[in-house]
């Protein structure tokens, strides 16, 4: 983890220096943190509704008016706009690995706020996904125009 964190910071700081802006740091932090928190509010809100998948689309339209779900949607909209802005400034091969930490953050939030039981096996799975995502995203497979 220490190695990954250093690798992350090195990659992020290099890209940020290239873009030369505190705005870029803010944008990156918004993209990293908005998604896990929006997912938390969506899941929290949906848990308040009757359990089970509904085949009626109206159920999900009504769900959007549950306050926590509405807050989650608002945060997702802002996340989407900020991510699009970030994608216009940085390569996907930079954005994906840096934002991969969101998988770990979401699991932590689920454990703390939704009191989910996260087994050791699941933590290992989440870490594997985080590292795998960072590896896949860090390869320069998408060329900058």
């Amino acid at each position: 983890m220490g190695l990954s964190a250093r690798y992350y910071w090195l990659m992020a700081s290099t890209e940020i220096r290239q873009k030369r802006g505190a705005g870029m740091v803010g944008l990156l932090l918004m993209v990293i943190f908005l998604k896990p928190f929006s997912n938390l509010f969506l899941a929290w809100g949906m848990k308040e509704l009757p359990s089970g998948v509904s085949m009626n689309p109206l159920f999900y339209v009504k769900a959007m008016f549950v306050p926590l779900v509405a807050l989650g949607i608002l945060m997702q909209v802002f996340w989407l706009l900020f991510r699009m802005k970030l994608l216009s400034l940085a390569d996907l091969s930079f954005v994906l690995p840096v934002t991969a930490v969101g998988y770990v953050l979401t699991t932590v939030l689920g454990r703390i706020f939704l009191h989910e039981q996260v087994s050791t096996e699941r933590w290992i799975a989440v870490l594997m996904i985080f590292l795998g995502t960072a590896l896949v995203g860090s390869t320069r497979h998408i060329k900058t125009q």
Binding site: Q76, T106, L114, E116, V126, S138
Partner: protein, 119 residues
Amino acid sequence: MKWILLTIVVVTTVLADLLQSHEMKIGAAERGGKFPLVSILKAIVMRPKLMLAIICLAISFFAFLALVQVAPLSFAVPASAGTFVIETVLARVVLNEHIDGRRAAGALLVLGGIVLLGR
């Protein structure tokens, strides 16, 4: 049911990611690297591929809402990283791209993580 919903989330997210990345790069290049938020909103309406990306995101979103109803958040979100496995397979099979060792290892790690999540 959770695996069906997860598949819908993953496939629509892959499509949205590819379309968004492609269109935003073109848009930024046309504007000399500058792409303010207001212009992004305008581009969503004006560019069909960006609109299609938003539709894919909407489908992915509703499938995700259903997913978090039937599965824990600590499963739903990490498992949605299956997008990276699909993107890697698509790059190799459809685009005939060379997949280096690092990327293949990453995709396998994600796949292994998802299998472990499903146990």
